[in-house]
Symmetry: C2
Subunit: 504 residues, 2 copies
């Protein structure tokens, strides 16, 4: 029996993962914990996959809908996607098996802003929630839940699901207790919603635990497994160059009086470039910084350790194995500097606009007029999803998007005449950065943006073809606001699909 279950009555609910999985019925709408590879249930999904496989083996239909906070790990998305038993997936994923099921047409996927997921569930737009499966660090004597390494959608799923299965993960440090801030009033439906009382990233407004109706708990599983923690790649030239351009830009904004000396709260997407930006901040001139973001990565922990960053607010960790170990062994020391909130608070438009968060997100491609594609490869194929990039981009002080100027060894230009899918419109994109340079699009019309983006951001080998596209478009277009030649606007993508390269 786990020493983490301090409530007497609930101990009787402990069972094996397969026994718990046996309680699930075909067609259920299931809300799983898990955000960016942190805090997802470790054993139950594999057991459920086994149950689905067995049903399929006997010729029975068995499919479930899988809702999460964001991406999870092979043990959840991978295991379930492999069975072909995921009917519907939302709001974000990044697992190869899951992606494959989506792009093969096996699973339906709805790519939803992470700040919209809470309202959509509580407003009933995604249907009745049958089950919540939530990883926790411990259960208190009075039956409240100590969250683990992500909060994500857990508050909402626990509130709205008919039934609850808990995984108590003994691998998670008990000292995470005190790091969370669970704000319940945010779940209210209109007309009963009230202002979100966050003025700075360090504001604590809620409670330390998640509440659950004990009557709803149908199973508790004890686990002892690490989160999916992936090492970051060593910083490469492109990442460092991109980080450098952003830091120069921020320095100039401070110099021009458009931003305080300690900047404004930073948001940063996940991945190697974001990590490079954080590494750049470690060397940079800014002190007393704060972060109001989705995910805490290695670079953020380094900034907190250095004292350059005062506090980081997020909804989940996404750490390398070494940083995860460091954090897990010293969780107590980070409780004053790190706050983990529900994702409808970490990504709330209200908080982001009020605090003037600096948004910085990766992308797949941008076009010459400032539209950004974050999700689709060559028009049809889903990569991961929009995640929280829209929440921060639309509502931040300004928004920046970063990518190397080319991909696939130079075969793909990440600056194109027209993006193959739009996730962030020209109305929302302030700054585009590649290793080549930075285009500051604020206050510019589309034709002005095109010039800057081509000259500052495109790779030298694609600059002349882009200039030629503009020249042609200005000649044939039916208007000079956003000159396009619709016949060749997507020709770069078509060429890639046919020949494997955008180079003509």
């Amino acid at each position: 029996m786990s020493g983490r279950i301090h409530n007497e009555a609930l101990r009787s609910k402990v069972m094996s993962a397969p026994d718990a999985a046996a309680l699930v019925r075909n067609g259920w709408n299931i809300g799983f914990s898990g955000f960016t590879g942190a805090g997802y249930p470790k054993d139950f999904p594999e057991a459920l996959a086994g149950r689905i496989d067995a049903a399929h083996h006997q010729g029975e239909e068995f499919k479930v809908n899988v809702l999460t906070g964001a991406s999870t790990a092979p043990e959840l998305d991978g295991a379930l996607a492999r069975t072909g038993g995921i009917n519907f997936r939302a709001p974000y994923q990044s697992d190869p098996e899951m992606r494959s099921a989506i792009n093969k047409g096996i699973s339906y996927y709805s790519d939803i802003h992470l700040s919209h997921m809470g309202p959509q569930v509580s407003q009933g737009f995604l249907g009745k929630m049958d089950l919540a499966v939530i990883e926790v660090t411990a259960i208190t004597e009075d039956g409240e839940l100590i969250p683990s390494s992500s909060v994500g959608m857990n508050r909402t799923y626990l509130d709205y699901a008919d039934k609850v299965i808990l995984e108590v993960n003994e691998w998670q440090s008990e000292e995470l207790r005190g790091m969370h801030d669970i704000y319940y009033p945010i779940g209210a439906l209109p007309p009963n919603r009230v202002p979100l009382p966050i003025l700075t990233p360090s504001d604590r407004i809620g409670q330390l635990t998640l509440k659950v109706d004990p009557e709803k708990i149908i199973a508790i599983i004890v686990t002892d497994s690490p989160d999916r923690n992936t090492p970051f790649k060593p910083l490469d030239h492109d990442s460092k160059a991109i980080a450098g351009h952003l830091l120069d830009f921020l320095s100039n904004e401070v110099k021009q009086g458009r931003m305080p000396k300690n900047l404004l709260p930073m948001q940063s997407g996940v991945g190697n470039i974001a990590n490079a930006v954080l590494a750049g901040l470690l060397e940079g001139p800014f002190e007393n910084m704060t972060s109001y973001t989705e995910v805490i990565q290695d670079g953020m922990v380094d900034l907190l350790d250095s004292g350059k960053m005062r506090v980081a607010s997020a909804t989940a960790f996404s750490l390398s194995p070494t940083a995860a170990e460091r954090l897990n062994n010293n969780a107590k020391d980070y409780r004053d500097k790190i706050i983990l909130r529900p994702q409808d608070v970490s990504n709330h438009p209200e908080a982001i606009r009020r605090m003037g968060v600096i948004a910085c997100n990766g992308m797949i491609e941008a076009d010459i007029y400032g539209n950004v594609n974050s999700t689709h490869v060559m028009g049809s194929r889903m990569q991961n999803g929009i995640g929280g990039s829209g929440d921060f981009t639309r509502n931040g002080y300004f928004s920046s998007f970063v990518t190397p100027s080319t991909a696939k060894g130079g075969a793909i230009s990440c600056i194109v005449p027209m993006v193959n899918h739009v996730d962030h419109t020209e109305h929302d994109v302030s700054v585009i950065i590649t290793e080549q340079g930075l285009a500051d699009l604020r206050g510019l019309a589309p034709r002005q943006r095109a010039k800057l983006i081509i000259e500052n951001c495109a790779h030298p080998s694609f600059k002349e073809p882009l200039r030629e596209y503009v020249k042609l478009a200005e000649k044939v277009a039916n208007g000079l606001h956003t000159p396009h030649d619709l016949e060749s606007a997507l020709s770069w993508h078509i060429r890639f699909l046919k020949t494997g390269t955008m180079v003509s």
Copy 2:
């Protein structure tokens, strides 16, 4: 001398419009009042146009940047655009002359979310403001300004411009006094922003007047001209059908328990379809309604008169001549039911999300996967702009988009394989409505949306070509998440440009 200028000292600033225009210098960044044809300066812009024409006649360079609240009227956009002297225009326009200057490449236009305009100016992203030209109803004894029929960006322009010119318009009813609610703390820059204390559309949180530093006032012009008020067309079959589908949908939402019986605050875009929806509500079953929107149209006034709507909050009027007269003659009676706020309050994401506003906006076209184009004709040509549609769509309880299923006598399908420009992404669009029917996209993946949109919303003559596109796309696409055939995705628009019709 106007009896509307109650401040003694300011009376000395009264002068003619040409004298005031003579004070303007080449290159100035000018913030004008005006929102949807209401409350724009009536005489100064024509005088400025005369000054620009004279300069051009003498071979001198003379261009200005024209920032407003939203669209204005021939006396402002029309007069200035005709000179070729508008270098840059933001954030919204709908004037034929202005549109022509943009699409001929004479003027640069930046199409900005109306709720972003305040922050962008105050954050310094649109440059130093040289001059504010603001229409008011009267000037109080202590030099404060009674706003006229729109509030728009006036608070921000008065605060940030170096110099101010006022137009006191005696046509505007003096009894507008008391209808406005000017909330000053919203203009704070981060880290000093605080929660917006609006819980319901009827909440008054600010003051009745606009403040201005009297030292900045360089001229006062007295005018006596009506706003640009356009009659609405009689409700046609398509508008009534669209309104009917929306009202059925709302009734069902109430029935399913997803919305209160008196609905949630309504937003409605401008135009004949929006007006039909309001007319439909007048006949419908809902009582005790409220509105939190941008613009008050005739249909909204009818709803207030009928008692079915309790209160309407907006930033401007957009009335027919008869409704304008009715309102102007009885302004006192409407002061408890109508609140006019700055556009960074009327369109604030925080308020819209909190109150769960029901967003309903017109569009140019939607594609089968749920992306919406509100601004561009055939890829390159700007129509009006995104206006506030993004503010309400992204942050509302849900978002609906309406259009007849065809345009140009059936030559254009408003449901297309791929939109020629994206203003509202698939992540933001809940419901699409044409006279044919309604597609409820909530919780659906792109392929599921395509089926619904084609079968429910497309015009019968375009259904089969759309089905064929999907069949082709599913065969050739590199992924089945959002199946596209990039070679023919924009072919309908290309065909229209070549042959004048999308029909093959």
